[in-house]
Subunit: 270 residues, 2 copies
Amino acid sequence: VSGGGWLLDTPATGVYLYPDQCEAVVHGLSRALTALLGGHVKQSLRAPPVIARSVIERVEYDKSFPHLLGTVTTRGIASDLVLLPAGCYCVYPLYADARLSAVDEVSVEATCFRQEATAEAGRLRSFRMREFVRLDNDDGCRSWRDRCLDVVCDWLGELGLATETAVASDPFFGSGNRLMRGLQMDQKLKFEVLTTVAPGLTQAVASGNCHKDQFGKLFSITDATGDAAHTACVAFGYERLVLALTHQHGDDLRRWPEPVRKALSLAAAL
Amino acid sequence: VSGGGWLLDTPATGVYLYPDQCEAVVHGLSRALTALLGGHVKQSLRAPPVIARSVIERVEYDKSFPHLLGTVTTRGIASDLVLLPAGCYCVYPLYADARLSAVDEVSVEATCFRQEATAEAGRLRSFRMREFVRLDNDDGCRSWRDRCLDVVCDWLGELGLATETAVASDPFFGSGNRLMRGLQMDQKLKFEVLTTVAPGLTQAVASGNCHKDQFGKLFSITDATGDAAHTACVAFGYERLVLALTHQHGDDLRRWPEPVRKALSLAAAL
């Protein structure tokens, strides 16, 4: 899994240390994504790896994905914190009870945790995610999500990665919303961008998601007309992108194609 | 606590979101520390916020500081992971059962967690730490630690921060080692570098620690002569440094003194 020393194994499965060359690529990806999708971002945040349990219960993640959720316990008692399962959950509380005067976009970078049952390449328990979140109406969210996905697939192509886009279902709709999850597939609310991260192994490296007014309702966020705000997000998995790039271009960063090195702002020394 | 929008409150006490200006300073501090103390670093790592519980039990952190330790539970059962309480615990397992041929230095950047009972300025539960770890003999570790502290205090002075250095005791010696903790004070194994982070409030923003051969013995690391290796570390709290800098220079990054801006590689735009 750790192919060529890019992700260093630790005594824990699915948990890795990141050496310098990995970090150089992650920073390059971060900068490139800011340039690509950050043009209209109102605020850009880095999130801590823990979040209030009350937020995660509010979005029913604990009901939908109890097997993935890590709770922080201290002295054997569940604390007020859980490990953050996705970056955008930090964003909605910032808008709780707010009335939006205009469309809003937020960028968030986070280390996320999911108690995955398997540990194939790219299936990390602790992993880093970049997300862009849009607050808008239904049409605005959907067209933004679609535009982002187009831009992202082009960009990944320029990085030398062949991608496939597939409709998927996801953790954004709670267990009380089985019907909603069916609708999610039918209405194409979630797309995943898949690429090869290891020989014969494909993983989602990005996704684009429309949440309808789910979070707008849960956090009492209204748009300028007074309706519940719609939200959408476009998310990226940094470690999976690193694995995909090393799979495609090899373990020696200095031998990566010059356009890729340039797109990732890799200094001549690396 | 969040003074001037540098650390954004979340629904959880002692857990903050970091906006761009905070991140710009953190990156500047990171680069500056690499330049200052990274000259002989053999490997530079970024650590995930979780670590194998077996490692933390091996160093008896769970016995010494059960009240600070966060355990990751999934479906109500303690998992194999805990939240990382200090960056350098990631480093020692990499050297387990190794015989060092020479002195070694490692840099590590990590998000740490401690279940602090209070939440005054700078007392975060989730916080970021930079550490430099040295593996050497007793004298080598001590003189390196002392040199680093001198360099660090000079550097903090150049950043406009008045510091005080104080002997302290710390979490590196287990509860079975009460005598050792007394010795730690007597032998001046730990120094903390203190500065003002908010009106009337002083916190440690850096520390320099000699661990004797504690970790060498626990992880069976030997030096070139076959003795248990000694270790030392110098650690920095990024958020506390940010708070100290904003306390000293104000909330408007553009008005910070030019030498400070330059030392932190802050672009003209910020």
